[in-house]
């Protein structure tokens, strides 16, 4: 058979969202790949220039619908840096809890969609079952399951509800038990799963850094970079946690990316438990931000998918002059041809599923 291009997308079960991966195959082997993005471009950076600082949180929530709080938090942090205000301590702890809850929900959504990518539909149902627990917690905290609009410039919208700590601990206990006993059986203890993921989509650490791959995908290459550690924001400095890095050497393959994300689930539970212990029980959780601001603010946070960077410039008006969103998936997408080249056609799902694509933040 001669080489020919196959469109994987925009309407395709492999693409979790609306984008197109054109792969050139020779029989079953991929010789070239070309991502086509922009189907979901909504012009966020332009829209945000005419809305007030706080109102933009509604938009940043929708950058990635499975990871709303982390994105809104990164935006709020950048605006706070520009305004020169600081969140009260209890507000910071609440933010940490909400971020980690959102990270678990997001990773579970990724795990859920990674299962059917490999033909394992049972994984989808099991992970969505546990994701409900965390969405319930987030709903308890913020009032909504998705697109919570929870972080505020200067804090969070509301205090934690009563009895939140007990419920949180109970859910986490239940989840950790499932994570220890049930998930490994269908995921990494399954030989077929390892056959599908090990050795495909390899990316060396040098390449990963040069192409701007960040977050769990970079840590899967063995690079010890976790922005919660490297550039601590909120109260991550006071928490004792271990950034999850692929320790076993070699270049990062799909299995390494899977393991890093899978272990982050456990680590996030650990962070939430510590935060519940260490946070002050009472106190203010929000300060009132000034209406106008001038200057530039910049915040980079460890989003569920990598380094989320907001660069906000104000010109003294009550709305930003320019907002720049740095999406980790957008940068990872540039490196996907390297990941794909030389693998089999069936590995496209195994690789692109493991890098965790979210189109909303990629296309802005």
């Amino acid at each position: 058979m001669p080489e020919f291009w196959i469109n994987m997308g925009p309407q395709h079960p492999m693409t979790h969202g609306l984008w197109n991966m054109k792969v050139k195959v020779d029989g079953e082997t991929i010789t070239d790949a070309k991502p086509e993005i922009g189907y979901l471009h909504r012009g966020y950076e332009k829209i945000m220039e005419v809305r007030e600082f706080q109102k933009n949180v509604v938009l940043t929530d929708r950058l990635c619908y499975v990871s709303s709080i982390t994105w809104s938090h990164a935006y709020c942090l950048a605006v706070e840096k520009m305004m020169g205000i600081e969140t009260p301590e209890r507000g910071q702890w609440i933010r940490v809890i909400s971020l980690e809850l959102q990270r678990i929900a997001s990773h579970l959504m990724w795990l859920a969609s990674y299962g059917p990518d490999l033909g394992l539909l049972t994984g989808l149902l099991w992970c969505l079952r546990e994701r409900e627990l965390f969405l319930d917690l987030i709903q308890l905290m913020s009032g909504a399951r998705m697109n919570q609009n929870y972080p505020r410039v200067g804090g969070v919208r509301n205090d934690l509800p009563e009895n939140f700590e007990a419920m949180c601990k109970r859910s986490i206990e239940h989840f950790l038990e499932k994570l220890e006993n049930e998930y490994p059986k269908i995921f990494h203890e399954s030989k077929v799963f390892r056959m599908r993921t090990e050795g495909v989509g390899t990316l060396s650490a040098v390449d990963a850094i040069n192409w701007g791959v960040t977050g769990p995908n970079l840590r899967a290459c063995g690079v010890n970079v976790d922005l919660r550690r490297l550039d601590p924001y909120e109260t991550y400095e006071e928490i004792d946690f271990e950034p999850q890095i692929w320790q076993d050497g070699g270049v990062g393959d799909s299995y390494a990316r899977f393991v890093v994300r899978f272990n982050e689930l456990r680590e996030s539970c650990n962070i939430i438990r510590q935060a519940l212990e260490k946070m002050p029980k009472t106190g203010p959780y929000r300060v009132k931000p000034p209406r106008r601001a001038e200057g530039e603010g910049y915040a980079k946070t460890e989003d569920s998918r990598g380094e989320a960077l907001f660069y906000v410039i104000g010109d003294g008006d009550d709305r930003p002059y320019r907002v720049k969103i740095r999406s980790p998936v957008f940068c990872t997408m540039a490196a996907t041809p390297i990941l794909l080249r030389g693998n089999k056609l069936a590995d496209v799902v195994s690789i692109l599923g493991s890098v965790d694509v979210c189109v909303g933040e990629m296309d802005k």
Partner: protein, 409 residues
Amino acid sequence: MSAPLIPNLFAVCKVLVAAIIGIVQSIIYALSGPIPPLRGLGDWLGLDAVITVVTYLIVVTIVVLWVTVLNLFTVMWVERKLYSRLQDRYGIMISIWSLPFWPFNRVHRPTHKGLGYLQNLADGVKLIQKENITPRNADSAMFHISPVLIASSTLMVFAVLPWSSGFYVANLDLGILFILAAFSLAPLGILIAGYAANNKYTLVGGFRAAAMLLSYSIPMVLAVIALVVFTGTLDPVKIVQQQDRPLVAFGTTLPLPAWYVFGPQFLGFLIFSVAMIAEMERVPFDIPEAEAELVEGWTTEYSGMRFGIVFAFKWLRMLAACALISILYLGGWSGPVFTTLSVGGIPVPIVPEEIWFLLRIYFLAAFFVVLSWSVPRVRIDQILNIGWKRLIPYSLLAILVAAGFRVLG
């Protein structure tokens, strides 16, 4: 030593058909007074050849209905319900109480509380209502022939497959060979379907199907050859008869039956089962329609009931595969009969052979369902590696082992 519920399907049907034709004949003879030419028609109907042909048609219809209406729906229901439970959910629920007319839709029997047996029927009704779309650049004739080819070649298996020592259409001396041959026709239909639809996904899916199914037919046949060394026959009824005796007796109550799986054929049993999973296109080996990367593989362009046919034929193949495994290795329909009732002078076994056979089939089907819903899909090159580098050498080894045991006695 159980007995079949139907001692001989053909003989029973022939008696019934002869009786019905006798009635028709007497009516025709009565009419032949005013209309003399009818007497010749009556004589022709009474010929043995006519009765035999009509009986064959009736028997084929009975077996096809038995397979498709009863067993196909049951095995689909078993699969859908079982994997739903595996995934922590209820699964399908449309039952007879969901029908929208009295007396079924009682107020206190909500439609979502049924057992779900009629869900597949509802899906079939929905698929029949759908529009049949043919892609513009597809080879229309081939595109429409291939579902028929696939479905009919699979149904051909059931022409020879016995359901008990009496419940079959025809019993050939080379029945197993015919079944395997009919089983191997489907890849041709799949390749035609994938090629004719003029779509890249279906093309890749069709080539994958050809590569995989052909390479797994070889160990399948080799495993059967290893078995034939022992059985000396390819007649399924005789193969089951050979297994219907105790091998080792533990005490007096629990004899270990002489199934071929216990003994030197165990390796062949494993190879045959794995090859059958591939032939069934179930999940570890379902790359021809790997929905994650190839949308729906070679079935992508089918719509309406044509999709229904190519979708449902997988369960038909699963039924045939489970039946074949149980005939060859698991003792077929042999089993104890506990007591025999006498209904109007005819002895009726309480646990007839058909029940024993269906029990084995559904147990195997349930095993395959649980297996396929708890592992991911294997990649094409890995599948071919397993097929060519593992299964074929092992099946050759199985032949060697079988021959050695045969020689040594």
